[in-house]
């Protein structure tokens, strides 16, 4: 198993659109790397370039120690799970699984063995003789997975594989994927737009925006020390609160005129007057295990909005004034112009 290296990789389309620029990324052997970002950020383009389905207009890509930048997909020893699964409709599940090995001229017994192993691991034994059209969404996804596993490639590439599943199935499959990765010890590059998926699955997460890498770090570091305002806002749900520096007197100015960021989980609701500032309670949403409280700063509620995650008890009433306390250890300061993290 090898590592994947992107050096200065960029992709500019003939019509001038820049899909990716200056990507420097290293994916370690056996690592689960997630590329995440809003649509159009270039994550899928980056994945496709690793796969060989698109050619970078600048930079190079290495898999293992080989420069694969100009190699076609079939020569790169990678496997890919597509968002739409792209199962071969006219072949049975067994034939779908065997296809890749057949293309490479693998011996029949080897094919048979690997197909059986993958099928058993993914619970596909009962449907081996069926066609994709006769399978459920979850089963199709597993066939797509099996097709990749059977090949025992150097790198697994996933292009938003869970986005076509319903919410509950998505969560279950996520856990299965994590388990599978642990067992296989494979190197995975995984693309998603869902930050929750990124945080739960990734060993390291690469956040992208408008074709550029914003930050590459383990999930916890992204959460605790986001490199800029975009990452801070993107990671974590509900999203971080932002206030102009000095909006809350007790908390201080921070570096000259910076923006203050504080996560909803790092704010506490206390009695009026007992916190760093007073605020008006606008809306309270009960999520069972916690309350999501929408506050507006100021006793008249004419200041900035703040979201706070509070424990389910004590109950908080709407249309009242409360106090809010800021966890001093969890303050984030960002430059106003560039959004870069300060300090």
């Amino acid at each position: 198993m090898a590592l994947v290296r992107l050096e200065g990789v960029g992709k500019t389309y003939p019509n001038g659109h820049v899909a990716a620029k200056g990507l420097d990324l290293e994916i370690r052997d056996g690592e689960f790397m997630v590329l995440v970002g809003p649509s159009g950020c270039g994550k899928s383009t980056a994945l496709r370039m690793i796969a060989g389905l698109e050619t970078p207009t600048s930079g190079r890509i290495l898999i293992g120690d080989r420069d694969v930048t100009s190699l076609p997909p079939q020569d790169r020893d990678i496997a890919m799970v597509f968002q739409t699964y792209a199962l071969y409709p006219h072949m049975t599940v067994r034939e779908n699984l065997a296809f890749g090995l057949r293309m490479r001229g693998t011996a029949a017994e080897v094919i048979e063995k690997r197909v059986q192993e993958a099928s058993r691991a993914l619970g596909l034994d009962p449907v081996l003789a069926r066609r994709p059209a006769q399978l459920s969404g979850g089963q199709r996804q597993r066939v797509a997975l099996g097709r990749a596993i059977v090949r025992e490639p150097k790198v697994f590439l996933f292009d938003e594989p869970l986005s076509n599943l319903d919410a509950k199935l998505r969560v279950e499959t996520r856990a299965e994927l994590a388990r599978l990765h642990r067992r296989l010890g494979a190197t995975v590059v995984y693309v998603t737009h869902d930050q929750e998926e990124a945080m739960t699955l990734g060993w390291r997460v690469a956040v992208m925006r408008d074709g550029f890498l914003q930050q590459v770090a383990p999930p916890m570091e992204l959460y605790r020390r986001p490199a800029n305002r975009f990452v801070a806002e993107f990671v974590g749900s509900p999203g971080m609160n932002f206030l102009p520096g000095g909006a809350v007197a007790g908390v201080g100015q921070g570096p000259a005129g910076a923006t203050l960021g504080i996560r909803p989980h790092d704010l506490t609701i206390v009695a009026e007057g007992a916190g760093d500032a007073d605020a008006w309670v606008d809306v309270v949403e009960s999520r069972g295990s916690e309350l999501l409280v929408y506050l507006r700063l100021g006793t008249k509620g004419d200041g900035a909005e703040l979201r706070v995650v509070a424990p389910p008890e004590p109950a908080i009433e709407e249309e009242r004034v409360v106090g809010v306390k800021f966890d001093r250890a969890r303050l984030h300061w960002f430059e106003v112009e560039t959004g870069r993290r300060m300090g």
Binding site: G52, L53, E54, T55, P72
Partner: protein, 296 residues
């Protein structure tokens, strides 16, 4: 990777594209060239002098040319209009049905599948003579006092022509519109019903607007076909009586291959081409605007 793809693509496309170029584009250019010359094969001693736009001027002053254009326009408007109306009515009624689906398909496809000249002959036969089936039925029902000789009167000759065309292509128009109807979300009708819209209102405000693209497509195909009509009239009336049902394509054919006036006939050909082309562009613009601008 993409360059490889583009190269493979051109390799695949080239044989077909070249063939079409050779067999279609080239003759078209030649026709335009011919139309600028005097070229009468009955009078080869005149040679093939370049005469510029003389042939076109001659056409514009040719009463038979204008008559032919008029016939064509009349045919197009009448038959396409009827086909659209009847086709729409059919499609609406059939949108709900449907145990006889196979039967409908067969009813649609068979008239469409037979050669046009054959359908022309079938209808000619039905209207032929004093005791053809149409005359017999009409007289028997008392609609006519005595049998008509349909093909002697210019107006009478149009009846079987229009009927034959409607018979052959209405079911196909109905099919196109039916497909368009089935693409309309049923929940739109439910919403309209809840809002209190009557059946007519629903038709006007839900069905018609959403059916516009399909109607335009049907219009494009049918109008272009109607303007090029040849087989039907050649076999049904031969353009007669006299030249009173002669469409422009038939007149061009006569000029070219019967009167052997290649220069003049080519000019007529070019005119037919320009009309068809303009109509096509017009429709495509309308359809394009409909599909992009009209999207909500």
């Amino acid at each position: 990777m993409e360059r490889q793809e583009a190269r493979a693509a051109w390799a695949l496309v080239l044989p077909a594209a070249l063939t079409i170029l050779l067999v279609a584009l080239f003759p078209l250019v030649w026709t335009v060239w011919e139309s600028l010359h005097l070229h009468d094969l009955r009078m080869p001693w005149l040679g093939k002098p370049f005469v510029g736009l003389d042939n076109y001027v001659e056409a514009l002053g040719d009463p038979r040319f204008w008559a032919a254009l008029g016939h064509t326009a009349f045919f197009a408007v009448t038959s396409v209009g009827l086909e659209l109306l009847i086709g729409l009515w059919l499609a609406l009624a059939l949108n709900r049905a449907f145990r006889g689906r196979g039967l409908v398909r067969a009813a649609v496809l068979v008239p469409w599948a037979i050669p046009t000249v054959v359908s022309a002959l079938l209808w000619r036969f039905m209207f032929e003579g004093q005791t053809g089936i149409v005359n017999s039925v009409l007289v028997g029902l008392g609609v006519l006092k005595e049998p008509l000789v349909w093909f002697i009167h210019p107006a009478g000759a149009w009846v079987p022509v229009i009927l034959a065309d409607v018979w052959k292509t209405t079911p196909f128009v109905a099919l196109l519109l039916l497909a368009g109807l089935q693409n309309i979300d049923a929940s739109l009708y439910e919403a309209a019903r809840i809002d209190g819209a009557s059946a007519w209102r629903q038709f006007r405000h839900v069905t018609l607007p959403l059916l516009k693209p399909a109607i335009l497509v049907a219009l494009i195909f049918r109008t272009l076909d109607a303007f090029r009509v040849f087989d039907l009239i050649y076999a049904l009336t031969g353009g007669g009586p006299g030249t009173s049902t002669e469409p422009i394509a038939l007149y061009t054919f006569n000029a070219l291959l019967q009167n052997l006036q290649f220069g003049y006939g080519s000019a007529l050909s070019v005119i037919v081409f320009l009309i068809t082309f303009s109509l096509a562009i017009l429709y495509i613009k309308l359809l394009g605007a409909e599909l992009t601008g009209g999207k909500r």
